[in-house]
Subunit: 326 residues, 2 copies
């Protein structure tokens, strides 16, 4: 398992700054969480039932029919490699590292490639794995590739599976891909809805794949309270529309602030900005000493900034950046 969680706790201990004094921009989770209402006692008490209103809500939200609720994208990332015999797998890099880790752990032959090379060499692999928009770079899988690939697959050409992790796709609702033959799409409720604690996501794919995945993951993958809360969040289109506008404004503002400080983003989404910099490690350290936690990437050397939760913290980020990048 890759190292996860507790980053803020460790930073607090390492830099001697109390946890509640940090500006934590280290995640891509929206700082503006959907307001979860009180949970009915029955949702805690009874076994969760597949026949509740969660799946209908998800079908309406994602605009597709065949969906499987999973305990976060992570559950699907770990389960998919167990559904195939040893395969040649091309995985986007840099990108969310759990994909490559899970395919390797399951005994597959994994090749890491940047977007352009992965698209060009897709036919060499049994499985290709994209993250789109990519975390942390913000790149998207080219539509032309997906169309070409549909034609190629009709001739039974490789790749057999195309996995696309759309965990950060919600900020452009019309940009969700549609599952076609051999496409497996992963969606997360954690990021856009600011509900990372709920552990909820969905897989969109063909029915046979979803059956195999359900068998692998077992019954009751989501808790009753999570099913209740997520079904309501997915139906709250007024909140979703307003939040998309708000996140677009705030991410644009964050991009401007970073650019003014000399850290022009090379990419990102409406939930984070991605800033390559030759001394990213030094900047990370300087920010952390001032109580600002961001995400550091080493290959290539870059920082990822999540959205500040409010104007005050945005202003604080700007002044800290001015201090360390005068």
């Amino acid at each position: 398992m890759l190292e996860h969680g507790g980053r803020l706790a460790r930073a607090a201990a390492h830099y001697g700054i109390p946890r509640d004094r940090w500006l934590d921009l280290s995640t891509g989770v929206s700082p503006h969480a959907w307001p979860v209402p009180a949970i009915p006692a029955e949702a805690w008490h009874r076994l969760p039932e597949d026949e509740d209103d969660l799946l209908d809500a998800a079908r309406a939200y994602y605009g597709c029919e065949h969906l499987l609720p999973v305990a976060g994208t992570q559950a699907a990332i770990q389960a998919l490699p167990r559904l195939r015999p040893r395969s040649r797998v091309g995985v986007l890099a840099p990108g969310y590292a759990e994909h490559a880790h899970a395919w390797r752990e399951a005994g597959h032959d994994v090749t890491l490639l940047p977007m352009e090379a992965l698209v060009a060499r897709a036919g060499e692999f049994d499985v290709v794995v994209f993250i789109s928009p990519n975390n942390p770079t913000g790149e998207r899988v080219p539509g032309a590739f997906l169309q070409h690939r549909s034609r190629a697959r009709a001739l039974e050409q490789k790749p057999d599976w195309v996995v696309v992790d759309e965990a950060f796709g919600d900020t452009r609702a019309d940009a969700f891909l549609q599952p076609r033959d051999g496409m497996i799409l992963l969606r997360s409720v954690g990021k856009f809805f600011g509900m990372a604690g709920a552990r909820a996501g969905f897989v969109a794919a063909w029915p046979g794949l979803l059956d195999a995945l359900r068998e692998q993951l077992g019954p009751w993958a989501l808790s009753g309270p999570t099913r209740y809360a997520v079904a309501r969040a997915l139906c709250d289109t007024a909140w979703q529309d307003a939040m998309r506008r708000r996140l677009k404004q705030e991410s644009t503002w964050l991009g401007s602030t970073l650019e003014r400080a000399g850290l022009k983003p090379a990419g990102g989404t409406d939930l984070f900005q991605y800033c390559p910099h030759p001394d990213a490690a030094g900047l990370f350290e300087a920010l952390a000493r001032r109580g600002v936690l961001v995400r550091l990437f080493n290959e290539p050397s870059a920082l990822r900034f999540g959205l500040p939760p409010d104007d005050v913290s945005h202003g604080h980020l700007a002044s800290v950046l001015a201090e360390i990048l005068p």
Copy 2:
């Protein structure tokens, strides 16, 4: 996957009785749920962290050090068989059917045996799986077997693993087993605390096994709200003590009612009573037509009755039994 859930919904449709008119005694989940307080917004918002107070609460409650939180006993039942090469596995029967199913699905050679035979022939297997107290019979794994087995294992004799599912063990707090070499104990928060919707349980075993299981299950197995609620439930010793007394009284009362109706229980726990009967299927049908849902077992022919939630429903059960077993 075995068929699960939706039993009440299907019964409502099949018997033409609205869902809210049923007396549902078909589960072993306590009808008296621990009262979950309001969940802090942060528990929904942030990724769950292993460093919260859940594990300390569980260590105090179960009285043992090495524990892994899992998304319900079910998650452990499915994951354990994936941690071994093909093995000979003896599984208690009748008993919770997911155990045998999970070991078979993972390619192991499964033999189903009743308690006495499983104890006597344990040395023939690589793994033996008990449910103690057993669901639905209420039988417990003999202490003498576990002691003998500890000595045998010092000589590296089989079985290699002894799995004991103690999902219904909480009503006698002092009866939880202690994990010793090669013992894997499964505990559930769903039954005694009446929190089946939370999807929470724990595995007690040696550290190496827990590490392998954690790797198999991945990070964030429990949602943030579940971690918060379960940590508090496990610490609420006043509620637990009072509830153990209450469940003991109510299950004794249920046993008397069943015995007076000619259905003397052959076993059970403080959360259900187990009644073998040659025409269990006919009784199930007669109860269901009157809006009382119980659990039917075919081999051997038997019914399992959960606790009625209150005096009125207990009286209703008694009068329905008097009607169909005059």
